[in-house]
Amino acid sequence: MPAFLYLTLLPCLPLAFVALGLSRLHLRARQSTVIILAGTIGPVVATVMALVSAFNVFTAGPVVAGEGIFYLDALSALMLAVIALVSLLAVTYSIPYLNREMAHGVITISKLGWYYFWLNLLIPAMYATVIVNSLGITWVLVEATTLVSAPLVGFYGRKESLEATWKYIIIAMVGISFALLGILLTYVASLNNLPESGASLDWTFLLKNAASLDPALMKLAFIFILVGYGTKTGLAPMHTWLPDAHSQSPSPISALLSGALLNCALYGILRFNSLTKSAVGPEFSSGLLIIFGLLSIAFVIPFMIKQIDLKRLLAYSSVEHMGIIVLAVGIGGELGYFAAALHIFNHAIAKAFMFCVAGEVTERYHTRDIRQIRGIVHSAPLLGTFLFAGTLAVTGTPPFNVFVSEFLVITGAFASHNYWAAGLALALLGVIFASMLYHCVAMAFGRANELILPSDGASTVPVHPAMSLPDSSGASGFNLAAPHMPVQVASVSALSGGSSNEELALSGPDASGTWLDRAAFRRARTGLLTLDKPSLAARQTRPPKRRLAVEHIKTKSKSEQTNNRVALLILVLPVLTLLVLGLWVPSFVQDWANQVGAVLR
């Protein structure tokens, strides 16, 4: 029963070709529906199978199947669960996403067929990576996932997509080659030091005899594995392909890549980490992992602070979280491993959710540019809520689950007396929180139809004057106009209120109306009142930012509205999961995480 169970994880493969074939036919009606259906069934069934297998492994213990070809222990089960849930979200979200893309004319039926073709090859490759016993076959499968995901990254066929794909392929293949070198060296060590066996690269065999492997060889091997698989995992400074690839691909694919594919490569690092710890001693690999972890967290900060592309922001966040996981594994101890296991799961769900939300935002506003998106809470309140929930989740804020695992990572760092690592991590995570929240607020809050004037000193002025309560703070200033000249009102009340006691001219009782009298404002703008504040001068030396008014497209076709609603509906369950897991981690989940921790040790 077990072997058969696991082999049925791969029902997608034939369906891949079915989907492709269907796209070539010329069915008259509902062709896209059929293709989508054909392409979705496979992953959904695979999800169910994977979850069942994972549950089985967690409750009944490690499983060896197919005469040693397949091996599942707690770590594999965790990865299975992660890939299962993330791919489920990705394929379900693909449906409204692709529907709208087709309605906008961005993709054709044939492209749809190719999408599901490659997707149905990618998902079984990912599953297979984590369930095979031989480390060599794992490598082959990881390389296969790279090759199969490349067309998905370049799906849109634009110049940027092509560029992203090229960089992805080149850098990933280089990395993978180095990982192969590491595996080769492990194989050398295995052949040299261990009794001859047909299973020399098998995980079970290696783990049993890890202590007798040559330390020098294993050190070298681990270096290559860390750099090699680290490239695909997204550890700095090998992560450079990640922002391009994850931002140019369609959002469901980005979710899948960030949530599942990075974890597959991480799986490789984790397996070799266990081997190296037994062979060489814990300090070597732990030290390297801590260094790469902290480097990954720190590296992304300059790129997140000044970021204009929403999905690139999320991609950098993935790099940071992979750094956290690797840091947790490096720190070790019961707490460290538990936290790493929990974080693998929490981050995958949170990041996949956030990418889908980003997909929704880009679908509605037709741009990924953060500077052009404003006022989501007004135009699409539920989406705004999801955006906030996702941002808070991804940055590790209660009440979401990522806070729990990040807190445990810091606690673990303290528990194993890595005070500086913990302090540094806390500080860096705070900065990342600040930058992501800043961008989220810029997009979510504000008015949906805010008109941003070209710079002549005035920044955002709300179009509706009635409601704002002027924030005039502080200074006194008054105009001594010559007699018979009307008193000018300088209503620059909406200047960014940084300094207290900003200048503000008074209006005499003759001045008409409220502060935001538009006529008065226009008069002020025409330069009768020049304000020589230093901050104003600095603002004027910056190049004028001509930003477009973001129009909320009121009239949407019925199908688009349906798709919008379906997409939001799909996103409800993940956000609830994030919330629930943040407040309460069930004890069985804790047990399972402990099992994974035991494996990682």
Binding site: A216, L220, I223, F224, P237, L288, P302, I305, E334, F338, P381, L392, T397, P398, P399, F407, A415, A427, G430, L437, Y438, V441, F445, S459, P462, S468, L469, D471, S473, G474, A475, S476, G477, F478, N479, L480, A482, M485, A494, G497, G498, S499, S500, N501, E503, L504, L506, S507, G508, T514, W515, L528, L529, T530, D532, P534, S535, V585, S587, Q590
Partner: protein, 714 residues
């Protein structure tokens, strides 16, 4: 009794939850959402208040285990209701009772603006739940979750009017600053976690910080906690979010934030320094730890903690009141005044901590005195700051402006608001018979105690300096509020907005009146407050040590020379009342005499000479002119700027236009900071070259990494 108290507490939580529920149920009927939501909040607050009072009467602590989140670190949700927690429960629910009714009237404005008020109401209720969870938490995990949730909810409440850029900016500054503060608090708790044998429960912390806990770690915990909680409390130099966030929030939220939320930071500080770092194990101590005879087993903190707290408090108080003095935005003025009052509370706490660390025989009594000063001031501040913010909100509602330079004459159009606001101003200026007087008096007494009984010279010196500073603060605070009330309410209206002001609705007036009445009551009934707070004050110094404290006489020197000699008690209550009412009586008698002897009022109506011009209300003495002399005196601190720009028609005789601009630049916008920001921005742009798009560069990173690893790790 305990059962009643816990039931009331449960009912309180349930009411808040119902508040949230009703807010969402009635989201399509905003008026009803407001009514139900805030009514539930009021009921919840009142029951919570009753529960708190009952808990304070029963000095045994109550424990409750809700559930454990993670077994092996013992991260869970446990509740502990000891007298300290009960006191802060009292504070929170008192704030809620005062503000919630007012909020009903205030939130009506937002319906007209088309905003989603049910979110406001729901957030308001949830805010209370999180604050209660913070003060009741007995586990570091629960504390941190509740703390961050509290910050998050308050952020959303502050950003309620997010259409304005200023609000968004203030909100982001607030939540980022508070997040960093939480990082410090987390570090502090995790050091305690280590000491407690990897257990996150506060009980384990108490047990683990005994004599075996290293000095360096103890100091680190205190410093980290001071920075972290100080950020939330608004102590300098971490205060800069406060004057930005409190003005832009809806006024009832500002009242809660100033009146209640920043107090939870004080709760955290007290909890860590007195309670968690106290330790309960007996044993051989390290050099700075001595066990006191009557209180064997308690580990003494180093006395420089108290000094540091004192200094931080003093700086916050002085600078806070200075910035409040020159502030023209009414709510920003109140925000700076909050910083000042937080400073005063920290003064009291600092003195208490100093005496707590000294092995003197009369130290317990002095500690209790100082703690009473701090706690009473805390209580008073909740009441009068809520009152003042509610008043400012009423003014904002009526005139749509917060700028004092445009107000004026409101005493005629908003009689009741003016009266209640006046009560608040008098209270905060520490004038009898209001409550502020008692608590500032007590703080003075505590400082005098430091001077008299502090064993070292530098205790006395610092005490004297602080006394001077506190007196200055008090005087400046009085001036500030004279300015606020005078410019805002008296004389003629300076703008059309003030001309068209009208009295606010009944609910708002009721809230204001309730708070005003409470300020008077607390002032007159200080002895009662002492009796109520006794368990909280004596929690660490042992029962009975507050016998020697009397609210008005405070330092019976003959009594404190030998502890245990208790003969001054609250029996002198009647005398206290008389002393307090004496000024009032004198005023009334004096006025009577003036009326009798002065004869009829004579009124002459004539034109005021105005140098040939027509007088306009804008020519009145306004707040800046009132403050100008003081601004000059303190210009080395405030660093005001002034710019004059003259436009000529025919130079240099015919002037077309003169622009005059002056103000105070906040430190964050000063040139140095702007330079630093530009520099960081420049650095950022330079660093981003790392990802410049060249795939060869990216590959070279891999090559270099590999080479470094190969060469250096063999």
């Amino acid at each position: 009794m305990i059962f009643l108290a816990t039931s009331l507490l449960y009912i309180s939580f349930a009411c808040y939850a119902f508040g949230i529920l009703s807010a969402f149920c009635f989201s399509l009927w905003p008026t009803r959402a407001i009514l139900f939501g805030y009514t539930f909040a009021t009921i919840g607050s009142v029951t919570g208040l009753a529960a708190a009072i009952l808990f304070l009467r029963e000095p045994q602590s109550q424990r409750l285990e809700l559930f454990t989140a993670f077994r092996f670190t013992n991260a869970g949700f446990e509740i502990l209701i000891d007298p300290l927690a009960a006191f802060f429960l009292l504070i929170i629910c008192l704030g809620g009772s005062l503000v919630s009714i007012y909020a009903i009237g205030y939130s009506q404005d937002y319906i007209k603006q088309g905003k989603n008020v049910s979110l406001l109401v729901a957030g308001y209720n949830f805010f209370f739940i999180t604050m209660l969870a913070v003060v009741l938490a007995n586990n570091a995990f629960m504390f941190l979750v509740a703390w961050e949730l509290m910050s998050l909810v308050s952020y959303f409440l502050v950003s309620f009017e997010h259409e304005k850029k200023e609000v968004r900016k203030a909100g982001v500054i607030y939540i980022v600053t508070t997040h960093f503060g939480t990082a410090f608090i987390t570090a502090s708790f995790l050091l305690l976690f280590l000491a407690a044998g990897q257990n996150l429960s506060f009980d384990a912390f108490r047990a683990g910080t005994g004599a075996g806990f290293s000095d360096a770690a103890r100091n680190a915990v205190f410093l980290l906690a001071l920075i972290g909680f100080g950020t939330k409390a608004g102590l300098m130099p971490m205060h800069f979010w406060l004057p930005r966030a409190h003005p832009v929030a809806p006024s009832h939220v500002s009242a809660l934030m100033s009146g209640v939320m920043i107090k939870t930071a004080i709760y955290g500080l007290v909890r860590i320094s007195f309670d968690l770092l106290g330790g309960r194990t007996v044993g051989a101590g390290t050099s700075s730890m001595v066990t006191v005879g009557a209180d064997a087993g308690r580990v003494l903190p180093p006395s420089w903690w108290g000094i540091l707290l004192l200094i931080v408090g003093l700086v916050s108080a002085l600078l806070g009141v200075l910035y409040a003095l020159v502030e023209v935005d009414l709510k920003k003025l109140l925000a700076f005044s909050s910083i000042e009052n937080m400073g005063i509370i920290c003064l009291g706490l600092g003195v208490a901590l100093i005496f707590y660390s000294l092995p003197l025989p009369n130290a317990p009594a002095l500690t209790v005195l100082a703690l009473f000063a701090a706690f009473f001031h805390l209580l008073n501040h909740t009441v009068f700051k809520s009152l003042l913010f509610m008043g400012a909100g009423a003014v904002l509602h009526a005139t749509h402006t917060r700028n004092l330079e445009q107000l004026g004459g409101l005493i005629k159009s908003m009689k009741w608001t003016a009266l209640f606001f006046l009560a608040g101003c008098l209270a905060i200026s520490a004038l009898p018979p209001f409550n502020g007087f008692i608590s500032e008096w007590l703080t003075f007494q505590a400082l005098l105690g430091l001077v008299s009984y502090g064993p070292e010279l530098w205790h006395k010196v610092i005490g004297l300096l602080t006394l001077g500073g506190l007196s200055l603060t008090g005087a400046l605070a009085a001036t500030t509020f004279i300015k606020a009330f005078g410019t805002g309410f008296l004389a003629q209206p300076r703008s059309q907005a003030a001309v068209h002001a009208h009295e606010v609705s009944k609910t708002m007036r009721f809230g204001l009146g309730l708070a005003a009445a409470l300020t008077a009551l607390l002032g007159l009934g200080a002895a009662g407050v002492l009796a109520l707070l006794k368990p909280a004050l004596e929690q660490w110094t042992g029962a009975g040590s507050s016998q020697a404290v009397n609210p008005l006489w405070s330092l019976p020197s003959s009594n404190l020379a030998n502890s245990g000699n208790t003969n001054v008690s609250g029996g002198a209550g009647n005398l206290n009342l008389l002393i307090l009412l004496l000024p009032l009586v004198l005023i009334i008698v004096g006025w009577g005499i003036a009326r009798l002897l002065g004869g009829k009022n004579r009124r002459a109506i004539d034109e005021t000479w105005a140098c040939g011009n027509t007088l306009k209300p804008s020519m009145e003495y306004n707040s800046i002119s009132f403050i100008k002399p003081l601004r000059r005196v303190f210009q080395f601190v405030l660093l005001p700027f002034r710019e004059v720009k003259i436009t000529y028609r025919i130079e240099p005789y015919f002037v077309e236009r003169i622009e005059y601009q002056s103000g105070i630049k906040s430190l964050l916008n000063s040139d140095t900071f702007r330079l630093a920001r530009h520099f960081l921005s420049y650095l950022n742009t330079e660093i981003k070259v790392i990802q410049n798009g060249s795939v060869r560069l990216y590959l070279s990173y891999i090559l270099v990494t590999l080479l470094i690893l190969l060469v250096f790790t063999r």
